[in-house]
């Protein structure tokens, strides 16, 4: 069973039909890339998975999204728990204006209330190690996170998520502000993280999707046009619209 399954998922922003009958399965311990032109609904789809769209006025959703078999739109779903389980990394790294240490323990405190200092220390060390920042930052954990480089900030944001032990990492253009070297290092990190997480990445960078993902979905005008193994999508797409988009004929 896929970690996340959407069945007949539709979404409207007021009168605008942003997602149309999306049916897809996102496997655990894999990286799934969602590609498509601007405005195709890929970020909207990503935001459905931790119900971030709930914050937008006039949003209407139909269909099901099952995570581990449970419908996230069920009345009994606790949003805080859902967002603990399904974390999101954004295009621009957005650390809090706090110390490196406080950035990481922030979510741990939100989700667990009062936590002993040694437990927090452990969470900081483990999360920074998993994003390969520990050696660089261990001696300046009290320094402001906003002074880090862009790449370090993005890694810190991933570490901040990991600290609350999610199952799913949603990444919305996580490398779009990074240079090619930093991008390559974040991609390496994603490959390491997929052993423990379900990762879904939205990207405009076709080569990034081809390099890093196991499965790829192509979206156009709110529809999931094609979904399959990444190598199949990029060497032999079945739908002409996918072919046109990934070969740059679309537009």
């Amino acid at each position: 069973m896929p970690k996340i399954q959407t069945n007949g998922l539709g979404l409207w922003y007021g009168g605008f039909h942003a997602l149309k009958n999306v049916n897809a399965g996102f496997e655990a311990n894999k990286i799934t890339a969602i590609i498509g032109p601007s405005g195709c609904g890929k970020s909207t789809l990503l935001r459905v998975f931790n119900r971030m769209n709930d914050l937008i006025e006039g949003v209407r959703i139909e269909g099901d999204v099952l995570i581990d078999g449970s419908n996230i739109f069920d009345m009994r779903t606790d949003l805080v728990t859902l967002r603990e389980k399904v974390g999101m990394v954004f295009q621009r790294p957005n650390p809090f204006p706090l110390s490196i240490y406080e950035n990481i323990v922030f979510g741990v405190r939100v989700h667990n209330g009062r936590v002993k200092r040694d437990k927090l220390d452990e969470a900081v060390e483990q999360s920074l190690k998993s994003v390969l920042l520990w050696d660089e930052l261990k001696d300046r954990l009290d320094k402001p996170a906003l002074r880090l480089s862009l790449e370090q900030k993005q890694r810190l944001c991933i570490a901040r998520l990991i600290a609350v032990r999610p199952d799913v990492l949603l990444m919305d253009e996580p490398c779009s502000t990074l240079d090619p070297q930093a991008t390559a290092r974040i991609e390496e990190l994603m490959r390491e993280l997929k052993a423990s997480y379900t990762i879904i990445i939205v990207t405009h960078n076709m080569q990034q999707a081809a390099r890093v993902s196991d499965d790829t979905g192509f979206m156009l005008l709110g529809e999931l046009i094609e979904f399959g193994r990444t190598e199949a999508i990029f060497t032999a797409p079945r739908d002409k619209r996918t072919e046109d988009y990934i070969t740059g004929r679309y537009g």
Partner: protein, 224 residues
Amino acid sequence: MERHFDEELKELKQDILKMGTFAEEAIYKSVEALKNRDKSLAQSVIDNDNNVDNLELAIDEKCIDLIARYQPLAGDLRFITTGMKINAELERIADIAVDIAQRTQEIADQPLLKPLVDIPKLTVIAQNMVKMAIDSFVKGDIELAKKVLLSDPEADELRNLIHKELVEDYMLKNCSTAPRAVQLLLVARFLERICDHTTNIAEDVIYMVQAEVVKHHPEKIKGD
């Protein structure tokens, strides 16, 4: 949307087509030279091989350049990778024509062992297969590619027939015919190998067009 890349792909296709024309010409001239024992025509095939080799290198370079600069995907990727493979097959075909020309030069001064009947037939099959294979690539025509694959058994059969005749009717009966018979055996073998190269091209074309690997899976062709 029109892409500059399409212009580059068009040029690549033209170059591969030119390579195909070189290969076709080389086969035709090498067998004509054999039939007419024309040493100078044979020599022209050998001399032109340099041009074939240079074009092969230029096409390879162009393909690598396109991959590096455009990072092609999907149909574009299949077209370029197939183009590289077809380029190599055509160069091998032209090399085999050179082999035939060299055999021709060796036997041109001797009387023909026998009137050539089946070798010209095999030549026609080989030339047709080369032509169909190149056309199938240019037009992206799968049916034509399949026709190439289905023609190969006929070439094999004819080669076996030539082999049997030369060995049983000449070499075994009169061993003094062996030096000339061996040259003809080789020519038949060369022509049959040209046919084998065209089947590789046809298989590559099928992959290029419908992303289906039929290489080493003959049942996928017979099933249609």
